[in-house]
């Protein structure tokens, strides 16, 4: 198989996604299925195609540099799983306790 179990674990860490050992194999199978399916594109001649030519988009609009205060702050803070006063709180950032 193209993508190894080890790679699946690495990608899961990169995506900060805990996956159970049992899940790893089915995820591996799925990923390989998608990539294999993608192999069809190999037959296309895409040599000189611009990957980011989005004909549908206008250029990005610019807004004026003016301040508009927002009144939803409390509503946002109230959703915090670990609020502390005016702050969002997170657990210890480093993994090891000792420094």
């Amino acid at each position: 198989m193209a993508v190894s179990k080890e790679e699946v674990r690495h990608i899961a860490l990169l995506a900060r996604l805990h996956v159970e050992e049992e899940e790893t194999q089915s995820l591996q199978r799925h990923l390989n299925g998608i990539l294999e399916h993608f192999g069809r594109l190999k037959s296309l001649d895409l040599e000189n195609v611009d990957p980011f030519a989005r004909e549908d988009l206008d250029v990005t609009p610019w807004r004026e540099d003016t301040v508009v205060p927002w009144d939803g702050r409390e509503g946002a803070l109230s959703q915090a799983p670990r609020r502390e006063g005016d702050y969002f709180r997170v657990p210890r950032i480093l993994e090891n306790e000792d420094e």
Binding site: L14, R16, F52, R54, L57, D58, V59, T60, P61, W62, R63, E64, D65, T66, V67, V68, P69, W70, G72, R73, A76, L77, E84, G85, D86, Y87, F88, R89, V90, P91, R92, I93, L94, E95, N96, E99
Partner: protein, 489 residues
């Protein structure tokens, strides 16, 4: 400078742009001292469903800086997402520029005269700032903290990242490069460039050349909050690497933090995860395309560059390089100086007074020149009085102090000191003159025997009288009276 062991330094500088609102939302950028999480909205909190829209002034400021550096401005650029997880990054990606930055190339001149050289610039791009973490530990450091608190007020503030080529050779050069860049952004009015406040943040890449001339392992040094800290950190780091190499070991590729208190750089503890930012074009932002005429318009709005101004101060007014350097350090100070000269001040005298008196006041009061209470007009008028001898230097300084401390206009300050010219007259003045004439008989003798073709000795006598009169006499009147005495006998 390509010998083995010599240092190679490249700098990445993040400059906060002095816009009113953030890069992609209408929240205020004024976060210093603000209550945590008040300058926020769905966009800069990364709320699901929110979308970015770019601030026009950010583009203007960045283009102006690029032009000042002589960089090539990209007319078609785009924004990428730089993906990584950290609590200060609410979307878990930073919107930044990657393969098509706003500008590439250009350079920044450092050094003077023959020593002058241009440090080449790699690129200039736009990105958003992250929020701020407050760590729970008593020392405020990450390592000891059981938990941390997040404030997104700074999140989304516009940053301009300027990356130099690794062509800086010494810590002193690095220091000057940063000082010149700081001066430049202040001149352009695009940032306050304050390192201590964090509006200008410097990361340095340092390596030493190997025996064969190739570049050694690169170490990134962060957390330098002043020019002095930068210089010290680089000196330390170069020494440390030299020592590592001398003991036959390998320099580790890592990020090190400057500890200003202990004067050392420290590596981050433990394993460092290999970064994989998975950059890809942000689908929420169509390409950034500069309209035709935009760059020309920004060029039109460019002020004179500080290095040009400095040269002009030297050549046009005959100032010393040192005077010119000091006076052009801040755009406001240079404008003040120019204002004085425009009002008729003698450039040398003005430069001298500004350097000694004005800067002293600014330092003592910790105010910028823009808040200095004496207008160039009054300042020039004061200098003129000294020049003409209406006021002695000592008295003029007292008048100056009064104008500063009380915010008084010149005539009022003179009035308050009772130093109105001509106030001392009649018998009192004659008495002083007679006293001086009696004391200075030798000088009088010389004048009368024609040994004073340039009138210097007469001037000396007048000065003595003025001094005795504590500057309160009319110098013209004094000169006339002395002249009469000398000529009539």
């Amino acid at each position: 400078m390509k010998q083995p062991g010599s240092a190679v330094i490249g700098l990445e500088i993040h400059v906060q742009l002095a816009t009113a609102s953030k890069l992609f939302c209408a929240c205020s950028t004024d976060y210093i001292g603000a209550v945590p999480n008040t300058n926020v909205c769905p966009v800069c909190l990364g709320q699901p469903g929110s979308l970015p829209v770019i601030n026009a002034r950010v583009v203007e400021y960045a283009v102006r800086t690029a032009l000042a550096l002589g960089a090539r401005v990209g007319h078609f650029t785009r924004f990428h997402r730089k993906n990584y997880f950290y609590p200060d990054l609410p979307k878990a990606y930073q919107i930044s520029q990657y393969d098509l930055p706003l500008a590439e190339g250009g350079s920044l001149p450092i050094g003077e005269g023959k020593e002058r050289r241009a440090i080449p610039i790699t690129r200039l791009h736009l990105e958003e700032d992250a929020g701020k973490l407050v760590h729970s530990a008593a020392d405020g450091r990450l390592g000891h903290s059981e938990y941390s608190l997040v404030d997104y007020n700074r999140g989304g503030v516009p940053l301009m990242e300027i990356v130099s080529e690794p062509e800086i050779a010494t810590p002193a050069e690095a220091r000057e490069y940063v000082a010149r860049l700081r001066q430049l952004v202040r001149y352009l009015g695009v940032s306050d460039g304050d390192m201590e406040k964090g509006s200008l943040r410097v990361d340095a890449n340092v390596s030493l050349r190997r025996e064969d001339g190739s570049l050694g392992t690169k170490v990134e040094v962060k957390n330098m909050n002043s020019l002095r800290a930068l210089e010290r950190a680089l000196e330390y780091e170069i020494g440390r690497q030299a020592e590592v190499i001398a003991t036959g070991e390998q320099v580790r590729q890592e990020t090190r933090h400057w500890d200003d208190g202990n004067g050392v750089t420290c590596g981050m503890r433990g394993k460092e995860e290999a970064h994989d930012y998975r950059y890809f074009p942000d689908p929420d932002l169509p390409p950034l395309i500069l309209p035709s005429g935009f760059v020309e318009e920004q060029l039109r709005l460019m002020p004179e560059m500080p290095w040009v101004l400095k040269e002009r101060f030297c050549t046009d007014w005959g100032l010393s390089l040192e005077d010119a350097s000091v006076l052009t350090e801040w755009p406001g100070l240079a404008r003040y100086m120019e204002g004085c000269v425009r009002c008729g001040a003698n450039p040398l005298r003005a430069a001298n007074w500004i350097r000694t008196e004005t800067l002293r006041v600014l330092n003592e009061r910790k105010i910028p020149i823009e808040k200095f209470p004496v207008s160039p007009e009054d300042f020039t008028a004061l200098l003129a009085k000294v020049e003409k001898g209406d006021l002695s230097t000592t008295l003029a300084k007292k008048v100056f102090d009064l104008m500063v401390s009380e915010g008084m206009p010149l005539p009022a300050a003179i009035g308050r000191l009772g130093a109105n010219s001509g106030k001392l007259e009649g018998p009192a003045l004659i008495a002083i003159i007679e006293r001086i004439m009696e004391r200075e008989t030798g000088t009088i003798e010389e004048i009368r025997s024609g040994k004073d073709p340039k009138g210097k000795k007469r001037g000396f006598l007048c000065g003595q009288v003025m001094r005795e009169a504590r500057g309160q006499a009319d110098p013209g009147e004094v000169a006339k009276m002395i002249g009469e005495i000398l000529d009539n006998q």
